[in-house]
């Protein structure tokens, strides 16, 4: 089938066909899901797997996923963080069955094959047989039967892993804008506050779009708009790395002008001056960053969002669960030197984010109502044109340019054709 999905104004003079279009089948067809696992998650990309603060000591491990593939992140005795596939080299059992913990080595319960924390095979029971009987073949080489290793690198305490031997170094993959904003938030030692997990019944790419979309944020989320946490009228930017894989969206709440903003939003459902809180302590925060930025959504291709909303700091990791589901793992953190007041502010403001978040809960529903509406569609396409419909940076927040950037990368890696 010809690749007809991509059309933009460069190919046409008619203004009503400007914009970018994505065939809905990429959200529902298992063929695309298979290619995504191979070309994106197992391909030449870096996926977020952990915060270094989750595995601070030698022997600490965390079970997680790259795409749908189970992986273990460890800190070995050399102090370095490693990532291996959580699958025994013998007959494929999960080696690590707990979410997290500390162990001197990794041992499969099935036949007690043991691996060191870097994934090297160090023990095989009855390797030389018993009483001269059985045992592994004489040429059995332990070195060739370790756990499958991923490359692991970290920046600012964020650990990324890759299956690719040829992928560019992590710093080059992320690019200077992403690194700058990782280092802005990860500016000093952090303290993990806990995890939240939610299963969303929709395709993971709908969430990739959602987190690159400054257009929806004040129109879907009343809390953002009414209380001025985020408005498209704010001073802010939507920018990408040179390859347009990643998206940085930030805004400055101090730029709110309630009267002018009210006029801009007219009778929008989400700008409701009648909506009041009995306990305003929820929104009492503290300025933490000199740049005045109060909202950062840093969407890092393919599976991470690093966020600051007011005083909430968190990473959100996407774990794919087939074409029509994904798990979102939120790991919230503060700084190790937070005083008691700051800890209380963060605890209270976590009401804003996560699966029960007064701001963020709506994103789950936004994803699901798309997934339910596109069922069975093989040819129909979405239409992405706000801000011009091209993968371009904007020094305003009325754009969908970063979404187009995501899709241009997707097209390169996976393609829109129905046969590979």
């Amino acid at each position: 089938m010809p690749e007809t999905a991509l059309r933009d104004s460069q190919n046409s003079d008619a203004s009503d066909v400007a914009g970018y279009r994505v065939p809905y089948r990429v959200f529902t067809d298992p063929e695309y899901y298979r290619r995504e696992q191979e070309n994106i998650f197992q391909g030449a990309t870096w996926s977020f797997v952990a915060l270094e603060a989750e595995v601070p000591e030698p022997g600490d491990f965390k079970s997680t996923f790259v795409g749908e593939t189970p992986v273990i992140v460890t800190r070995a005795s050399d102090g370095k963080v490693h990532a291996v596939v959580n699958r025994c080299a013998h007959r494929g059992a999960l080696v690590c069955r707990e979410v997290r913990g500390n162990r001197p080595n990794l041992e499969c319960v099935y036949h007690q094959w043991a691996y060191d924390l870097e994934g090297n095979l160090i023990g095989v029971p009855f390797r030389r047989g018993l009483k001269g009987q059985g045992g592994m073949p004489g040429d059995f080489d332990m070195k060739q039967h370790g756990l499958k290793k991923l490359r692991a690198e970290s920046i600012g305490g964020l650990v990324f892993a890759s299956f690719s031997e040829t992928v560019e170094p992590l710093r080059d993959f992320l690019g200077p804008i992403v690194i700058e904003h990782i280092e802005r938030i990860m500016c000093k030692p952090i303290k993990v506050l806990g995890d939240q997990r939610q299963h969303v019944h929709g395709n993971w790419k709908l969430y990739a779009e959602n987190t690159r979309d400054p257009y929806h944020a004040s129109l879907l989320h009343l809390f953002h708009n009414t209380f001025g946490l985020y408005r498209s009228t704010q001073t802010g930017k939507s920018v990408m790395d040179a390859n347009k894989r990643h998206s940085l969206l930030y805004s400055i709440a101090a730029s709110n002008d309630d009267a002018a903003d009210k006029q801009a939003y007219g009778d929008s459902r989400t700008f409701d001056t009648e909506f009041k809180l009995q306990d305003m302590s929820l929104l009492k925060g503290r300025q933490e960053f000199d740049d005045g930025i109060t909202l950062v959504i840093l969407a890092v291709f393919p599976n991470l969002v690093l966020q600051q909303i007011q005083n909430t700091l968190a990473v959100r990791q996407t774990v794919t669960r087939g074409t029509d589901g994904f798990e979102l793992v939120w790991t919230h953190f503060g700084y190790a030197d937070d005083d008691a007041e700051m800890q209380a502010i963060r605890q209270k403001q976590t009401n804003l984010i996560g699966p029960a978040g007064l701001v963020s809960m709506e994103d789950g529903e936004a994803v699901e109502i798309v997934q339910r509406a596109i069922i069975g569609e093989t040819e129909a396409e979405s239409y992405i044109a706000m801000g011009g419909g091209r993968a371009e940076d904007a020094d305003h927040l009325v754009t969908e340019g970063s979404i187009v950037g995501f899709w241009e990368n997707y097209e390169k890696l996976v393609g829109y054709g129905t046969t590979s």
């Binding site: 909506f275 605890q347 007064l358 709506e362």
Partner: protein, 162 residues
């Protein structure tokens, strides 16, 4: 009957009934009345067992005043967008863990079934309540209600109280 045992049964009954009303008002969508079961300076917390057992503070919902409970409900009614659904709580027996001057600590297992608009009912959240109840007043009130949930992966979202 031994007076101490009688008093203990009375407190257990008060706690059981308070939890039953709590469940009933949520399930029957009487959410505007729900905060009336709490004291003004109450704690209401819904926290994953994963975090609770690591002594980590992160909660799905954390309120430290009755006003915040009211705000949650107003937000649900007016601000939040979520799938149409209802809850059905099934409660286990309430056990009085400790008592001091008519202020009691209790534990109650719970399961919340969710029914969505398509008519399917699924187990949404199961866990235990750890409650502190003040029985010294005209009617018993929660001074603290902590729902520690086992169902670590929340299905889409959580908008109603547990």
């Amino acid at each position: 009957m031994d007076l101490a045992i009688f008093e203990r049964l009375r407190l257990q009954h008060l706690a059981t009934e308070l939890n039953a009303i709590h469940a009933e008002w949520i399930d029957d969508d009487r959410l505007e009345e729900w905060p009336e079961l709490f004291t003004d300076d109450c704690i209401y917390k819904v926290i994953a067992r994963e975090n609770h057992e690591r002594n980590l503070s992160l909660s799905a919902i954390f309120c430290d005043s009755k006003g915040m409970l009211v705000d949650r409900i107003i937000s649900l009614r007016k601000a939040n967008i979520f799938p149409v659904h209802s809850y059905r709580h099934i409660l286990g027996p309430t056990r009085v863990v400790s008592e001091h001057e008519l202020k009691i600590t209790t534990q109650t297992n719970y399961t919340v079934f969710m029914t969505r608009a398509d008519g399917r009912t699924e187990i949404y959240n199961s866990g235990k309540y750890i409650d502190e109840i003040d029985c010294s007043g005209e009617r018993p009130l929660f001074t603290s209600k902590v729902a520690v949930f086992d169902t670590n992966v929340i299905d889409t979202m959580m908008v109603r109280p547990i």
